[in-house]
């Protein structure tokens, strides 16, 4: 089972290594980790996707909470959150296949961001399923390289996770 955690942390050097180090030394698996600064330049947000059972995700949350640099953690319910990932995919393309790849790209509402004689580079964003479905379709032409950001997620509706917001899960 996959869980998505939205984690607010202090924005200073060393925090990412503390968080990543915690995962490795306690034997937790990170599926993906995406970091970026928030509207408050002192605070960054990490979106962490963890693979495991209830015990694992509870331990991840509690152990992360122990880090002094971690300000707030919330486990996101997939039904009540919007999740996105960005991928850049370089696909082999020649004069015969080029138009087919362009058609598939349009159907997926993805963008071609670079073209060469032998390749097309496509930018696609969406949830994991959409990106993997797209990759399956273009695999037949030959995927040369893939770069993915990892999932970022935000809650639907007017709920927010900021340093001042109250989280019901807080103990």
């Amino acid at each position: 089972m996959k869980y998505t955690l939205s984690v607010l942390v202090e924005n200073h050097p060393g925090v990412l290594s503390r968080v990543a180090g915690l995962f490795s030394r306690r034997g937790f698996n990170i599926d993906s980790l995406a970091v970026g600064v928030t509207d408050d330049p002192n605070i960054s947000r990490m979106t962490i996707v963890v693979n495991g059972d209830d015990y694992i995700v509870e331990q991840v949350t509690k152990q992360l909470n122990k880090l002094i640099d971690v300000i707030k953690i919330k486990k996101l319910n997939p039904k009540e959150a919007v999740e996105r990932e960005l991928a850049l995919i370089k696909v082999s393309a020649n004069s015969q296949t080029r138009s087919e790849i362009i058609q598939i790209t349009e159907i997926f509402r993805a963008n071609i961001v670079d073209v060469s004689k032998e390749t097309l580079t496509i930018e696609i964003s969406g949830d994991e399923d959409k990106i993997s479905a797209f990759m399956e379709l273009v695999r037949q032409y030959g995927i040369k390289e893939v770069v993915q950001t990892g999932i970022i997620a935000i809650e639907r509706g007017n709920k927010v996770i900021t340093k001042n917001s109250k989280i019901e899960e807080d103990e």
Binding site: V9, K62, K66, I68, D69, V70, K72, E171
Partner: protein
Amino acid sequence: MGKITVAQAMVKALQEEGVEYIFGIPGAAIYPFYDALYNSDIKHILVRNEQAAVHEASGYARSKDKVGVCVATSGPGATNLITGIATAYMDSVPIVAITGQVMSSLIGRDVFQEVDITGATAPFCKHNFLVKDPKKIVEIIKKAFYIASTGRKGPVLIDIPFDIQQQEIEYPQSISIDIKGYKPTIKGHPLQIKKAIDLIETAKKPLICAGGGVISSNASDNLKKLIEKHKIPLISTLMGIGSIPTDHPFYLGMIGSHGQKKANIALREAELLIVVGARLGDRALGDTKITEKMKIIHIDIDPAEIGKNVGTDVPIVGDAKYILGEILNRITEKDLCWAQEIIDENTNKSVSNIDYLRPFEVLKEISNIYKGEYIITTDVGQHQIWAAHNTLIKKPRTFISSGGLGTMGYGVPAAIGAKFANPDEEVIVITGDGSFQMLMQELATIKREMIPIKIVLFNNSRLGMVYEIQKKRCSSRFIATCLDGNPDFELLAKAYSLEYLKLDNKDKLSEAISIMKNSKKPFLLEVVTKPDEPTIT
């Protein structure tokens, strides 16, 4: 007020935190700080290996309920602290460790004596700081003391480049500490406390397991009153020894693989276990099936400990002293002593047919002669378990041992720290010949400072605990557990100006211990024991 150097500001901030002693060794990357110490009231204790500096700070902190401070230089000085920091982390001991670092402009270039000590210690210290902005130094020191001494206590490291120590700053007038991500919960949730009280009131066989958290939160008085009011028997982990007097009729002993029979029987029979400030690690609770059938109330200031090793019915996050106080005030008085049979069981070891000297007799005799008026520190090994089972511990903070990490070499330096913290108390180290030799160069610190620490050295010329494992599980295929080449401990004592006595038979047991007690000097009592002496007697 004019400008002062960062090093001077560090010393001033440490004085404001009430620091009396600093344990450490200087070096090139920390010399400005040492220079600033020259004119201060803080006493510096020069150790012989940085690892000892942390253990001394640990003995000081644990025996006195204050933050212990240690200092080392960059590179190897800093890495020598690592074992001590990990030891303090596992046992939740409040320590601030200060390390010098190479010049800030050279960080990351692998220059002489450079090491990434904040990276290295991150997994096993509560928090650490690399000082980059000289103006932040006082705030960082205040934060470090606050983090080390609140919530679940632990070690905090401050790494400071030596060029920054030399820069000049205005000493800040007032600093308030507000750390966004660090707000320890002290008061337990009232609803959870109520649920706990209801469970205790209705339980027929409740049992309390006290851990180190009882001692570090000074909850012993409340714990004692609670068990007496409701007649609840008590077991402890190694770290919980001393949470109530070990001769208290309701105290059944330490649990676990090296625990006492009574305690383990009670644990199997209980229907409600109230875990207070303990994490129930693998040594304490090897078989988690034991707790499957019982209800569990778990009180801990660290929410991550609750549910980590055992499932919990009523989790209560908060300070043990506060929560036990709440329970005590609202619980009814009862006369239910379900464990009376276990309490009454006579587990006194028979000594009548044995003509050789046995360790438990030595420890019982020390307890009798001193009447529990001492601070005991131990090393790690068979002697540690002998001490845990057989010494009379009357007060909290008087049994000091490396529980979580099991660090050999802890005993002597921890005793030095405890002696500085409590100069009027007798401090006795219980050690073995294996552990003792890991940091025995600290005898030089004892000699230099002329502190009358008493060392009881059980010598079986073996790494006893592993030797025992090899005997039982490896069909006596002994490898690397015989300590041939041990020094002549009498000559060693002489070299470091310690008084010395050797005890190898029962005849002079009381006399030897009395001589040790009456001595006003550092003392080494070498007790020769059989290699086959079991850990659990």
